[in-house]
Symmetry: C2
DNA sequence: GTCTATATTATGATAGAC
DNA sequence: GTCTATCATAATATAGAC
């Protein structure tokens, strides 16, 4: 749990809830040497993909050389794993907090807003995470790597289960139409995550602009939960 | 337009509408030598990603060696471009046909079914296409490559416009709630494309199973178009 | 902690036999 | 049309100076 320790396996920057400033987008204001590497890696992996981005690219983005990267991370795959882990912890923590912050009625809306806010704000990290955790699972040779990647799958499932729970709850309460809960959660998350692929902060974009975008996407995602059954007043 | 011609730029296997048998999934039954290479590439890129998959991987999957691949494709990027192009033409043609095959009322449902059917059926191709066309745009050095990639963007936009048009039409007709049409189209497509990342044909899966899956996903996507306004009977 | 070499390996691409 | 070399390059990872 030490916030900054050289390459020693799976530990990483402090928990996402701490003051993470402008984690992804901010070129400056990195929080620790290790996190500076992590930010650079997230941006490089986002732009070129894990395979095409080189360690030299990551170093160059920091105005440094390889040595700095390898001092903090044992391998490129370790770096990738840490970027994805950070992405998943970040978005899960914020979504879980939003879920707990009020009554069941507006729960899903709050969760979607929190999820989407993180998608826009920490886009490089999430973009990498969505690039395919499973893809590079095959590249994992050592047991430690396979273990780390299994951990990522667990984190991803945890986040999805948060949404499944909220959907099931809403169905129970008669807010949503009955549905295949895991499938619906997956599909809704896919819709919400879509923005990570095309969103780009426009020049002079205000917080209000982003909020409007979030509201529109969340609205679509929410309406998907109301089946035709709900319209006709047929519940269950 | 010749169906099989050695590496000569942007030409490719015949149009997707022809007898394409089991394009993606089928290990056997490839239609032409060039298409056999294309199928192998789609599967390799899907499994390992464009960056990590090697030309040797593609050849090995056919039980051949590099020579065979390079006889039909000038470079790895050319192969990638052709996989994506094939994916986009395939799904667009089928969706456009479904759109034209009936009245406006059920148009979007027909389009979504056609789109989803292709997502499931030609998954390797679509998975590669969604891996990030833009990602490898940077890797394009030669003018021909940049041109080819611009063509892919155009194909992608064409498919999206098909959905935008159907949404706008539905809003006009009072079928759907007014909305930000391009944003909604993107979000709906993201939801529909989500399956490409997690779907795997289960053992003993029937056509009916697939249809049920398609119907569930399409239902979610469709309901997203009906805003709360529709529920309250407020139109426009 | 960061840098400058450098070892090693993998892979994209080519040439030419068959 | 496909194969067997082979070249050239690029990138991961390491060793050791500062």
């Amino acid at each position: 749990m030490t916030p900054a320790e050289p390459a020693a396996g799976a530990n990483a920057p402090d928990s996402p809830d701490a003051a993470r400033a402008e984690a992804a987008g901010g070129r400056e204001g990195a929080r620790s040497p290790r996190e500076e590497v992590l930010d650079a890696a997230a941006q490089c992996f986002m732009e070129k993909g894990f395979g095409a981005a080189s360690i030299d690219d990551v170093a160059r983005r920091m105005g440094a050389t390889k040595g700095r990267v390898y001092h903090w991370y044992r391998s490129k795959l370790d770096l990738f794993v840490d970027v994805v882990r950070y992405s998943l912890e970040l978005i899960h923590d914020q979504t879980a907090a939003a879920a707990a912050a009020g009554p069941p009625e507006g729960r899903m809306a709050r969760m979607l807003r929190a999820h989407l806010r993180s998608i826009l704000r920490d886009r490089p990290y999430h973009r990498v995470a969505l690039q395919g955790v499973d893809l590079h699972l095959r590249a994992a040779t050592t047991p430690e790597q396979r273990e780390a990647l299994a951990g990522l799958i667990a984190l991803r499932d945890r986040h999805q289960r948060l949404f499944e729970k909220a959907i099931a709850e809403g169905v129970e309460l008669g807010l949503y139409a009955p549905c295949d809960v895991p499938l619906t959660a997956r599909t809704m998350l896919a819709a919400a995550n879509g923005a990570v692929f095309w969103y780009r902060p426009r020049e002079g974009e205000t917080e209000a602009d982003r909020n409007e975008l979030i509201e529109k996407i969340a609205a679509y995602c929410l309406h998907g939960l109301h089946g035709p059954a709900a319209e006709k007043g047929e519940k269950a």
